[in-house]
């Protein structure tokens, strides 16, 4: 039996409906922003229950724009974690600021007890990540941020559909970013991103900045970028959005089956703590395992595409050399980099495949 990590061929096996939409797009000639992008933005805003959604070219672009929209600038510091995709930190640097890391907790999320100590007079934003599609403790983060008068930008890139007590990820911070990369819960056929906010001024800035700073065709208000969501991807995203709740539920079901199936192996392999009220969307289904590298090899040799997200924490990357961090600075994150693995648990995984994975893992630890 094969258990593949990617599911895109299955997800998009039936494309007639998408092609109907794309025909409409091509017939309209509206290939730069325009009605298809606006329709998607409205639909996504109403899904989340926010005032503004602004489509961007990528999730990275969404993060950069979000940070700029809350006033991050050269000389600022932005607090985030070292166990995330590189783009979280790349976006901080792209906005001209210095990344300041704090360690993570045993849920692989930002350790809220360490944030306050990382705040300095230069802190311009706190950028918690919904890593793996799991919300961090947003209420505590907001409390700290409000007390210190610092805006929160959620990196909700992997977390469309995630919730805390019914409230969507991406609705806690002032300006928040999502990705629609093909391996995200809400995915498109290439790159795409969305920024959401309830702040009118931020929304005005975002719409200006993503399109060359153009007020209209002839007037350039600020130096901007080209970071527009492609109408092609908006059309695809719009249709996937109709299915997102169903596919998130399927991921949740698969994650539960894995959690339960691995019970009894806690001394070797275990899922993180999953507190009440947190709806995870399992963009990655993460586990902590002993003899991780051997286990991954074993799984792969048996046809299960297990992966590691990620073996090198960001503060130890070549790119981070100038930030002055060293091994030992974030012990939990560094330990997890050696222990964490990702199993395929997406919406197209079947109960048979789950049982297959569980039996291989049991066999490995026997």
């Amino acid at each position: 039996m094969q258990v593949k990590y990617s599911y895109l061929d299955q997800q998009f096996a039936e494309v007639d409906a998408y092609f109907k939409d794309l025909h409409e797009l091509v017939a309209s000639g509206e290939f730069t922003l325009g009605p298809f992008v606006e329709a998607f933005e409205k639909k996504f805003a109403s899904y989340l229950g926010v005032k503004h959604a602004i489509g961007t070219n990528t999730g990275t672009g969404a993060l950069i724009l979000s940070l700029k929209a809350v006033g991050v600038q050269p000389g600022s510091e932005v607090i985030t974690v070292a166990n995330t995709f590189i783009a979280t930190v790349g976006a901080i640097v792209a906005a001209g600021a210095r990344p300041v890391f704090v360690d993570c907790d045993e849920r692989y999320q930002i350790d809220v007890t360490k944030i306050e100590a990382a705040i300095s007079p230069k802190t311009a934003a706190i950028l918690p990540v919904h890593w793996a599609g799991c919300p961090p403790e947003m209420d505590k983060i907001l409390e700290i941020a409000n007390r210190n008068g610092i805006p929160v930008v959620e990196d909700a890139c992997p977390a469309v559909g995630a919730k805390i007590n019914g409230r969507f990820a991406g609705t806690f911070g002032k300006v928040n970013a999502f990705s629609m990369h093909p391996l995200k819960p809400l995915n498109v056929w290439g790159d795409g991103g969305i920024v959401v906010t309830n702040d009118d001024k931020a929304a005005d800035f975002l719409r200006l900045y993503r399109n060359h700073g153009l007020l209209d065709r002839d007037h350039v208000e600020i130096w901007g970028v080209n970071d527009r969501l492609q109408p092609f991807q908006a059309v695809v995203g719009s249709r996937v959005l109709d299915t997102v709740e169903t596919l998130v539920e399927a991921r949740i079901r698969n994650a539960r089956l894995l959690d339960v199936g691995l019970k009894g192996l806690e001394s070797c392999i275990r899922p993180p703590r999953r507190p009440q009220g947190y709806r995870e969307v399992y963009q990655l289904y993460l586990l902590t395992a002993s003899r991780r590298d051997e286990l991954v090899k074993f799984l792969v040799s048996r046809g299960v595409e297990a992966k590691v997200h990620y073996p090198i924490p960001i503060h130890l990357q070549n790119a981070a050399r100038d930030l002055g961090y060293a091994r030992g600075d974030f012990p939990v994150c560094e330990r997890q980099a050696n222990e964490v693995l990702t199993l395929p648990a997406h919406q197209h995984i079947t109960p048979d495949q789950i049982n297959f994975m569980i039996s291989i893992i049991r066999e490995f630890y026997r």
């Binding site: 061929d9 000639g29 290939f31 990275t60 056929w189 002839d218 350039v220």
Partner: protein
């Protein structure tokens, strides 16, 4: 407000017998091929930097007569990433022209440099005779723009840049396929940037960009810088962006590239026909010696431009101005400290230029209608 403007725009567009562009008509000609290309990507399951991007990069490099090309998300990012690769420090200067699309200058500012403008010559592109005066100790690069699809005076510019050891980045956003003395734009400088925005001759169905170059070091840098600075899945060598050309767009661009020569020929024939017919009334864009222009925009000059534009617009011909406000006078450029008096040739040019509808599917009937209106404007006014 934006939504409102878009709606108004749509209403106006649908009422122009000769609209400025005809993207839907053009797309209809290749729709079956496009959909097949999209389907191929779906079947492959590869949506990010897959075989279509790689194939398009090879085909595009060949088209530009260069060894390499690298797919980027859009033309602006292409400029930005190449300039970032130069490691500009605050105060480092990059020279370009003020009559381009804003991205030529914005990319410099984004990369941490200071845009320095030099005036244009009669042809509408960078004046090599004034270039040398704009070079200072802080100058790191020159960005000549092949505006409207006309090649800039690359021989003189390359001579000056060579003598002063400056990097030349061609802004060929509007000029794919144009050449000077038989040598294609994109193959003159150290690197060149192209845009595949929908209104470009070779266009994506959304945004797209390319860098062409002969230099493998630039290629290696761009392959990382367009993809988060990642050397591989696990190792990040420097902080960067996500500026990848979409696999879907690359697949569709390969379809477009197969038709590009025919479409360019159609544009050129129509442009030369316009030149013959409009010559009695306005200044037409004749090609200079050795130039092969691709007419991404067809720009005439008139002393009574605003009246003529209004006359045409009111009678169903969508004429536009590229660009009505030069970059050095935009609010965004305030801190650069330029004034209206700085670039007389640009200012003179800006007051006269008018872009007329020109695209491969423009019919002779439509073109004759435009010409008749220009003629009647000058005869009755």
């Amino acid at each position: 407000m934006r939504a409102f403007l878009v709606k108004i725009n749509l209403i106006i567009m649908t009422h122009y017998p000769v609209p400025y562009s005809a993207l839907a008509t053009e797309a209809a000609l290749v729709k079956a091929e496009l959909m097949l290309a999209v389907e191929n990507v779906l079947d492959s399951g590869r949506y990010i930097l897959g075989p279509e991007v790689a194939a398009f990069e090879r085909e595009f490099a060949e088209y530009c007569q260069t060894k390499f090309s690298v797919g980027i998300s859009n033309g602006t990012s292409a400029l930005h990433l190449v300039l970032r690769g130069l490691g500009l420090k605050d105060g480092d200067e990059v020279i370009t022209v003020p009559n381009s699309f804003v991205a030529s200058a914005a990319a410099i500012a984004l990369a941490g440099g200071k845009p320095v403008f030099v005036d244009i010559c009669h042809c509408g592109n960078m004046d090599p005779n004034q270039l040398e005066d704009a070079i200072t100790e802080r100058t790191r690069a020159i960005i000549p723009v092949h505006l409207t699809g006309r090649p800039a005076e690359m021989k003189s510019i390359m001579e000056i840049a060579g003598r002063r050891s400056l990097f030349v980045l061609e802004d060929a956003a509007q000029a794919v396929g144009a050449s000077l003395d038989g040598k294609r734009v994109g193959s003159w400088g150290d690197a060149a940037c192209f845009s595949m925005h929908p209104l470009k001759n070779l266009h994506a169905f959304g945004d797209g960009g390319m860098v062409s170059t002969q230099n493998p070091d630039i290629v290696a840098r761009l392959q990382k810088s367009r993809n988060h600075g990642l050397a591989n899945r696990e190792q990040c060598d420097f902080w960067s962006f996500n500026s990848r050309l979409d696999e879907m767009q690359a697949a569709m661009l390969r379809v477009q590239l197969r038709h590009l020569d025919a479409w360019t020929e159609a544009r050129r024939n129509l442009a030369l026909r316009y030149n013959d017919l409009l010559r009695p009334y306005v200044e037409v864009p004749d090609e200079g010696p050795g130039e092969r222009c691709v007419f991404q925009t067809y720009v005439v000059k008139s002393d009574r431009r605003d009246e003529l534009k209004q006359y045409l617009n009111e009678r169903g011909v969508e004429a536009l101005i590229h660009y009505a406000t030069p970059i050095h006078l935009q609010p965004a450029a305030k801190e650069l400290g330029y004034s209206v008096a700085d670039f007389p040739r640009t200012m003179q040019h800006v007051g006269k230029i008018l872009s007329l509808p020109l695209y491969p599917t423009l019919t002779h009937t439509q073109q004759d209608h435009v010409v008749e209106l220009v003629s009647s404007f000058y005869q009755t006014n």
